[in-house]
Amino acid sequence: MKRTPIVVVATAAGLAGILAFHTSPSSLTIAPAAGTSGVPPAPTPPAQSGPSGTQRPAPGAGSTRTVDGPEVNYSFGVLSVSATVRGHRIVKVGIASLDDGGQFRSQFIDEQSIPMLEQEALQAQSANIQGVSGASYTSAGFRTSLQAALRSLGIS
């Protein structure tokens, strides 16, 4: 029996809190935790149970803006992260560019709506596991570029 957690919080020191809800194996909502009060918002039910990789856009005022973070070195080459926000809510994080000498590029760019860390993608692909131990190959570079992108968007 596959169980999913009712609430997932991703928090990065120095970044705005990011709150994600696994409402079913195939849909994921990402929204920042409530800012000043520090209290996470109450969980909201999903608008749809979508196909794999679908993200429900978080409600919020403000225009949608996407920024690509700077290119940073990572284990196999150079990448930059794209962050999309609507108002002050992060609605999508993805790989904007990846130069790894060619070997893994197609795998990364094919990914739809990449979650915060590659290990979440591993988790989604693998049968019935609730986590992956061992940091992702790109996590340091990913994080650096994402932080810069979010700063450009006025999020962090």
Partner: protein, 243 residues
């Protein structure tokens, strides 16, 4: 720490009441406090100032003393293969702090309706409970050679930490020589406490295969090494998930 931490909470009926959201708030506060105190990336954190000799341990927040006591115990348990005092640049408890902080954050999540929870700090995971009674959490171990592949799956009763030279930002230094050294591709340690598991995984990654023997006298700690040639070695009780 600059680490992205993910927290998953499982309840019997899937609801999230005030105890759950209160626990999350407390857990986040624990992590942010730990970052403020221990981050070596922030020039004015107490640990950064301690490293520069600007303050003494007596001036630092109490948790610095707690962590350094745990570091000393881990140094002894690891036969000196984990030694925060022997790092280039001076005292650096980072190899234990991430797990220590995640373990303390996990403690904030306990509530009667919570059947299980995991705090995942960039691949070092502290947990209690499981999906439900008799259903432990299953956790994959990343394949150090192939992105997006798993090398193994374990049944997790508490904590797992993995250390490896393939992780950017992982600076594995041999305390005996002061030079970079990683004699494995990946070392994973499971056990009751993530702070110690974190330190032991780091120690074994530096020491190589002989490092597995360090775990023998430590109740409840098991280890897996993936060698640079993809050969694997593990302790007798390493909790591989049944296939």
């Amino acid at each position: 720490m600059g680490t992205v931490v993910t927290i998953d909470i499982y309840t019997a009926d899937g609801s999230a009441g005030p105890a759950v959201s209160g626990g999350l708030t407390s857990a986040r506060a624990v992590l942010q406090r730990a970052d403020a105190v221990f981050s070596t990336w922030q020039a004015d954190s107490p640990v950064s100032r301690l490293r520069r000799g600007e303050i003494t341990l007596a001036d630092a927040p109490a948790e610095v003393g707690d962590v350094l006591r745990d570091c000393a115990a881990a140094r002894d348990a690891s036969g000196g293969w984990f030694d925060p005092w022997a790092m280039p640049g001076g005292l650096d408890p980072t190899g234990l702090v991430k797990g220590w902080a995640a373990q303390r954050a996990l403690a904030e999540l306990r509530a009667p309706e919570v059947s299980g929870a995991l705090v995942n700090a960039a691949g070092d995971i502290a947990s209690f409970g499981g999906l439900g009674p008799g259903t432990p959490f299953r956790v994959g171990i990343a394949d150090p050679f192939t992105p997006r592949k798993l090398a193994a799956i374990v049944c997790l009763t508490a904590a797992i930490a993995t250390s490896g030279c393939y992780q950017r930002g992982e600076h594995l230094v041999d305390p005996h020589t002061g030079r970079p050294a990683a004699r494995v591709a990946s070392a994973s340690v499971t056990g009751p406490d993530l702070g110690l598991a974190d330190a032991l995984a780091t120690a074994i990654a530096v020491a190589g295969r002989p490092g597995l023997a360090l775990l023998e006298p430590l109740d409840g700690y098991e280890g897996l090494i993936i060698a640079p040639d993809d050969d694997r070695e593990w302790t007798a009780g390493f909790p591989f998930a049944p296939q």
